[in-house]
Symmetry: C2
C-alpha cells in the first residue's frame, strides 16, 4: 500500500484527471495558506520550456502561493504560443484559488513540441480545487509520466522547540541527466527562512542529489526543483545550527527522491550507485561518477551481472582521469576489489556474478588520493528501455 505523506502546516495538495490521461491524475496543485519564500533550480538546456522561463522570471520570490503541474505535455519547443498558454494556465489557476497570477508557479512534463491541452486543463481547475487535501499523494500521482511509482517523502526536525516538516515529491524516469532531467522536484516546508538561504541551500543540495542521477544522459528542457517555505511552523532557519539541521533534512529528502528516480529509470531492473572517493578534484570525482552511470556498456554489463570492470577503467580514461593515477586507482564491484596497483586483481568470477544479482549494484572507485568524493546514481540498460522509447510520441 502507498504510504500517506502529510503536507507541512499551511499546505494542501491535489491531483485530478483532466482528461489528458485515460484514468490517472494528470493535473496537480500545491497551495499554501500563507505567502511563501520560494527558490528554484532549473535546467541548463538552452531551449528551456515555457514554464521554466516563466518561473525563472518570478523567482526568487517571497509571495508564492501555489504550484500547478500538468503531465502529458511538456510545453517545450512550443514557441510564443507556449508562453501564452503557460501564462493562461497560471492566471486561471490563480483565479480559481483567489490569488494573483504572479503568485503561481508552473511545471509541465510529457511530450515535447505539442501545445498544452488548455481545453482540458482549464475546465479541470475547479475540480482540482475541490479535491485539496493534507497529503501529497494525489499530487505525486498527477505529475508522473513513464514513472512506475510515485516518489515522495517527508522529514521532520525540531528548531527551538518547534517542529518543522519538509515534504517533497518528484517525478522522472526517462530523459534523466539533470543539469539543473525531465525531472521535476518539489519541496515544501513550514520553516521560516530567507529567500537567499533557501536558494543557496537548494542549489548546493540539488548539486549533490538530483544533479547526480542519470537514466540516459539526456538533459530535458523542463527540469526544475522548486522549494516553498511558508513559515507556518514558526521555526526560524538562520545561519548556524538551525541551517545545518535544515540542510541535512533537505539533503535527506532530495537524495531519497533522486535515488527513487534512478531506481525507477525507464526499463531499469537495478539501481547502480557509484561512489568515487580519494580525489584531488571535486569536479573530477563528480564527473567520473556521472560518466560511469551514463555508460551504456557498463549499464549493460551490470544488467548482465557481468563483472566487466575493464569498461569502468575505459570510462575513467574517457572522463580524463590523469594517466599517472593509473597505478594508484582502485576499483571494486559489490565490495570485491577487481583492480589495484595498476593491475587486474584476481577474483572469483562466479562469486562476483552472484554478488551482482539483486536489485542494487555498487561500484567504488578510489581516484589515487585526495579529500574529495562524490556519489552518483543510475540504473541498468535493458531491452525494456529500448521498447519504451521506440514508441513514445
Amino acid at each position: 500500500m502507498m504510504p500517506v505523506i502529510q503536507m507541512p502546516k499551511g499546505f494542501l495538495a491535489t491531483g485530478v484527471n483532466s482528461g489528458v490521461r485515460r484514468y490517472r491524475p494528470d493535473l496537480g496543485i500545491i497551495k499554501s495558506e500563507f505567502p511563501c519564500v520560494a527558490a528554484g533550480c532549473f535546467t541548463k538546456n538552452t531551449f528551456k520550456a515555457a514554464p521554466v522561463l516563466y518561473n525563472m522570471d518570478l523567482l526568487p520570490s517571497k509571495s508564492i502561493r501555489a504550484i500547478v503541474v500538468n503531465s502529458g505535455h511538456a510545453n517545450a519547443a512550443t514557441g510564443e504560443q507556449g508562453m501564452i498558454d503557460n501564462l493562461e494556465l497560471a492566471t486561471q489557476t490563480a483565479n480559481t484559488l483567489g490569488v494573483e497570477q504572479n503568485e503561481v508557479l508552473v511545471a509541465s512534463t510529457g511530450v515535447v513540441g505539442e501545445k498544452l491541452p488548455m481545453m482540458k486543463l482549464v475546465p479541470a481547475l475547479p475540480q482540482a480545487t475541490r479535491a485539496f487535501g493534507d497529503t501529497i499523494n494525489n499530487f505525486a500521482l498527477a505529475i508522473m509520466t513513464t514513472d512506475l511509482v510515485p516518489k515522495f517523502c517527508s522529514e521532520t526536525f525540531e528548531v527551538g522547540g518547534k517542529t518543522v516538516t519538509l515534504t517533497a515529491c518528484a517525478k522522472g524516469s526517462g530523459m534523466i541527466h539533470p543539469n539543473m532531467a525531465t525531472m521535476l522536484g518539489f519541496v515544501v516546508t513550514d520553516a521560516q527562512i530567507s529567500t537567499e538561504l533557501l536558494q543557496s541551500t537548494l542549489r548546493s543540495v540539488t548539486d549533490e542529489s538530483f544533479n547526480m542521477i542519470s537514466v540516459d544522459g539526456e538533459t530535458s528542457t523542463n527540469d526544475m526543483v522548486l522549494a516553498l517555505a511558508n513559515g507556518a511552523s514558526g521555526a526560524s532557519i538562520v545561519e548556524g545550527e538551525s541551517l545545518k539541521t535544515f540542510t541535512k533534512a533537505l539533503k535527506t529528502v532530495c537524495e531519497s527522491l533522486a535515488i527513487s528516480i534512478a531506481r525507477d529509470g525507464e526499463g531499469a531492473t537495478k539501481l547502480i550507485t557509484v561512489h568515487v572517493h580519494g580525489s584531488a578534484d571535486l569536479e573530477l570525482a563528480r564527473e567520473s561518477a556521472r560518466m560511469i552511470t551514463i555508460s551504456p556498456l557498463i549499464k549493460s554489463a551490470i544488467h548482465g551481472e557481468d563483472p566487466n570492470w575493464g569498461r569502468i577503467l575505459v570510462r575513467l580514461g574517457q572522463t580524463g582521469v590523469p594517466a599517472e593515477l593509473f597505478t594508484k586507482l582502485k576499483i571494486s564491484l559489490q565490495g570485491i576489489c577487481v583492480f589495484e596497483n595498476g593491475a587486474p586483481q584476481p577474483f572469483d568470477r562466479a562469486a562476483a556474478r552472484q554478488a551482482l544479482q539483486g536489485d542494487h549494484a555498487t561500484i567504488k572507485v578510489f581516484l589515487g588520493g585526495g579529500p574529495f568524493e562524490a556519489t552518483a546514481w543510475g540504473c541498468d540498460l535493458t531491452k525494456r528501455y529500448v521498447e519504451i522509447n521506440t514508441e513514445y510520441s
Copy 2:
C-alpha cells in the same frame, strides 16, 4: 561474395588463426617491401592501451615496414606487463619478417584488462608470414571483434601520369565514439609523401570521418588510425593539386569505412546520418551532429520509425545551441520538414513513419545561418545492443 581488394604496390597482407578465436583469423600483418613514411591518430582516452603508447612513441617515422594486429585482447589496463608483451610481439614480428623492431607498429582490440595471449600469438607468426598475399581480405577479417562484416575499400588516382593506390581497412562495432572507438583504421598507399603532409592530411580527414561516428558514446583506450606510404608508385604528393587529389581519395576511403562502422554498430538495423548546416561555428556544428547520434532517445525513436523530432530539439539545447537561434532552426527527417520558424510544422505522421522504414535515416538541422557544416554517422539503439553487451567478457 566478399569483393577482393588489392594492396598498393609493394604491400602485402595476411590474416591467420592463432587459436585465440575458434575458427576466424585473429592475427593480421601488413608489410611493405620498402620503408614507409607513417602517420597516426590516437585515442584521447587518458588510459591508452600498450600498443597505442608504443606507436605514439615511434611515430611519425620514415622507416616503418609492418603493422601487426591481434583481435580478442585489447592489451589495455595491463600495466607494465602489457608494455613488455607489446614490445615482445613487435620484436618477434620483426624477427620473423627480417626487419627491425622499431620498424613494426602494433594494434590490439578486444577485451580490456586481460594479458596478451603470447603463447598463441608468437608461434602463429611464421604461419602468418607464409600466408602473405596481395589482397587485404584476410587481414580485414583478422582484426574484427563484434563486427558482422569486414570493412575495406580502395581508391586509385593519377598523379603525373602515375597511378596511386590507397587501400584501407577498419574494424569497429561497439565502444565507438572515436576521439581519435575501439576503432582501428589502417590506410596504406604507394604514394610518395612527406611525414608532415601525411600526418596533417590524416589528422584533418580523421576529424571529418572516423571522429564523426558513434555507436554508443564510449571512447576506447585502443583507437588508432595508421597511414603508411611506401612511395612505390613513384608518384609524388606535394602541396598543391596532387595533395588535393590525395586528400580527396583519403577522405573517400576514410568516410566509406567510417560509415561502414556506424552501419555495423552493435545490434544496429539502421544507419543514421545527421547533417548540420548553416552554423556560425564549426565546433558547434560538429558537436550538435555528434550529440544527436549518441542520444539513446533519438536512436530508439529512429529504431521505432517514430518521427519524434522533439527529442532532436531537446538534444540541440543540451549541446548548447544558443536559445536565440530557436526561431531560426529548421529540422527535417528524411527530407520532411518538422520544425521551422520556432514552431512545429504540420506533417503527415503516417507518411513520415513510412519514410523512416528502410535501413537509413537522415536528420538535417539548419542552425540559423552561417558558413559551417558537419556530418556525423550513428545507428539505431536496439534490444540486440543490450543483448550483446550484457554478456561480453
